[in-house]
């Protein structure tokens, strides 16, 4: 997503894709919207907005304002639109701003088991190459297509009650570049790549409603502490200065009726992911709850 930043910023941590996505329910398990990668379900909802701050080396900073809209076509299939507006700030250099490339995903939630709290989806993520302004702020000059698998698994069957609120979610993509990078490294192409995300979550709403009601006040009872991991790696040579990156994002999501608010730190997991800790803040609305008869309903049943 941000590969052309290499020419502007020697901060390959910016390569980590950051996209906010949808939530899903399986039985009593609510999978919240993870902040740094997609979650396993398909629903009518929107991220309005998501802020990302990523400090780079030597006073270089990146600020992202991102948004997303998820629309179900049928109850289990839909389309997702992601985009953002970025600011690149460097000392003694003109500020660079511009729209990110547009991402459109088609996603099918093909397996949901409320008893085992399991959700699996498959999708295709299409990156549409941007204009000159997009490239100026790090967008790819060429697009890509990424077959993607998503999963979510709750652990409500664990024999130890206090562990039952645990859940994991994940995403794995193989990114096929429209224009392959060649050994000359000056053709603006990209190598085919792998990217993924993984989260481990502890749902206090689940604890309260399924295991033990501790009588927490609502602002605690709605919280889901979690840690997200995202990684990106070229799948084949030549990588030409595109090392594997790992980002770790510990934080918390507050679930309310109709919306959620999430906040996480962005901690570089390896040297290539950057030198400093960033932050991400997201406000997300569930249209299926807020507008169940209009925007929140699938087009076809």
């Amino acid at each position: 997503m941000f590969r052309s930043l290499l020419g502007l910023l020697p901060c390959v941590g910016l390569l980590v894709p950051l996209a906010a996505e949808a939530h899903v329910i399986a039985g009593a398990r609510v999978f919240p919207v993870t902040l740094t990668f997609d979650d396993p379900g398909m629903a009518d909802e929107a991220t309005l907005p998501q802020f990302v701050f990523q400090p780079g080396p030597s006073g270089q900073h990146q600020y992202n304002l991102e948004w997303e809209y998820d629309k179900t076509i049928t109850p289990t299939f839909g389309l997702i639109y992601n985009q953002g507006w970025d600011i690149l700030q460097q000392p003694e250099t003109k500020l660079h701003t511009g729209l990110e490339n547009i991402f459109i995903s088609a996603k099918w939630q093909f397996y949901t088991n409320p008893i085992t709290e399991t959700v699996i989806s498959a999708g295709i993520i299409r990156e549409f190459a941007g204009n000159r302004a997009t490239v100026n702020i790090g967008g790819d000059a060429y697009g890509s297509t990424a077959p993607t698998l998503y999963f979510g698994q709750g652990f409500g069957d664990l024999p130890i009650g206090l562990l039952r609120p645990l859940a994991i979610t994940g995403e794995f993509s193989y990114i096929i570049a429209d224009r392959r990078l060649n050994s000359a490294a000056d053709n603006n192409g990209n190598p085919n790549s792998v990217a993924g995300g993984f989260s481990i979550q502890y749902s206090i709403p689940y604890l309260q409603s399924q295991v033990q009601d501790f009588g927490f006040p609502q602002w605690i009872a709605g919280m889901i502490p979690l840690v997200e991991f995202t990684w990106f790696s070229p799948a084949e040579a030549p990588a030409n200065g595109l090392p594997a990156t790992l980002m770790i994002a510990p934080g918390v999501i507050y679930m309310a009726d109709g919306y959620q608010i999430g906040m996480e730190a962005l901690v570089p997991g390896n040297r290539a992911a950057g030198p400093h800790v960033g932050a991400i803040l997201q406000v997300h609305f569930f249209f299926d709850d807020l507008f169940p008869h209009t925007l929140g309903a699938p087009l076809f049943r």
Partner: protein, 125 residues
């Protein structure tokens, strides 16, 4: 040529359709609280189990089973809605002895979306 002209209009049509089609709602009824409380130990055997949800319910389509440690049903086999609170279910119980009881609920919200869950409570000796 016609297809090219239609292309930018299709997303707008999709949004317009979503606003006009009488849709099926997908708000989910999740358990907010219960009496006896989830995981609680009570000194006095309750005569009813009360479940409070986050959404209004179709009580006649909701199911609640309460079983004892041996798996025997201790509810009276019916689920009542609360006329004064559409988000509440009341489950009459048989006389309970001291022990651990399991509640399994299946809820259907007014917009037909299904959720389910389970929890335990204990009646003290």
């Amino acid at each position: 040529m016609q297809n090219q002209m239609l292309r930018p209009i299709l997303p707008m049509l999709a949004v317009a359709l979503s606003l006009t089609i009488p849709g099926v709602a997908f708000a989910h009824a999740l358990l907010r609280s219960a009496e006896p409380a989830v995981g609680a130990t009570v000194k006095t055997a309750p005569q009813n189990l009360t479940l409070n949800f986050t959404e209004r319910l179709e009580a006649e389509f909701c199911r609640v089973e309460v079983t004892d440690a041996q798996g025997a049903r201790v509810d009276q086999g019916r689920v009542q809605g609360d006329p004064s609170d559409g988000k509440r279910l009341i489950v009459p119980l048989k006389p309970l002895k001291p022990g651990v009881y399991t509640v399994i609920w299946h809820a259907v919200s007014v917009d037909t979306h299904k959720t389910e869950g389970r929890f335990r409570f204990t009646v003290a000796q």
